[in-house]
Symmetry: C2
Subunit: 127 residues, 2 copies
């Protein structure tokens, strides 16, 4: 087992926030949470696995939708309480069918949608 687990400070709930960034463009795709088990699985498989707080279960990103994230590199911040995942995103990261989850920008004091839907969510979650 990697010694990285000694360097990660998990919350009282055993979680750590993880930022997914497209490794070559720098685009911030999403932020989600991981527990030790999901970190271990991600490192073993090189496919990103989060922890779903709503479902209280491992969340193998793209398992249903096919929009997987291949891990390129895992980084840890200075305090050990946030992870940065450099990934190669297949298709789209967001369940809305947009490339990334941060598609609402505050402009002129209003949230504007600044990214188009690239894949119909109905196609992503058709089962």
């Amino acid at each position: 087992m990697s010694s990285i687990f000694e360097e990660i400070t998990f919350t009282a709930d055993g979680l750590v926030p993880a930022i997914a960034q497209q490794y070559d463009t720098g685009e911030v795709l999403m932020m989600a949470w991981m527990n030790a088990e999901s970190v271990a699985e991600t490192l073993e498989t090189s496919q990103v696995c989060y922890w779903s707080r709503s479902r209280q279960s491992l969340w193998r990103k793209g398992e249903t939708s096919g929009q997987v994230q291949n891990l390129v590199e895992l980084r840890v911040d200075c305090d050990g309480d946030t992870l940065l995942l450099l990934v190669n995103q297949t298709g789209v990261a967001c369940h809305t069918g947009r490339r990334n989850c941060f598609f609402r920008a505050l402009r002129d004091d209003e949230l504007k949608t600044i990214a188009d839907i690239e894949i119909d969510p109905g196609r992503l979650y058709k089962n």
Copy 2:
């Protein structure tokens, strides 16, 4: 007051994670937490203000060190539970004197330091 507060889902503690990204290079600088007051101050002043969980007080980034973050754009994710701050970072974001906080990368199963100290921390916090 901006309607953005209706779109942000704060934790039970009244906080929301905020990722700071250098607006022009895409570099992920750091992740910290904000409460409603710090979001409001950030929008009013265009200088990023976080909430320090350790000090339980507003954390005006760079107030002591001079390493301020000017807000270029604020974005909200699909669930409203994470913010992405596009900023222009003066100097370095990390208290270690490195440009960003994610300077440790897992390579060959070990965390390697991949960024140099650009400013002596002793100079950043000399008072």
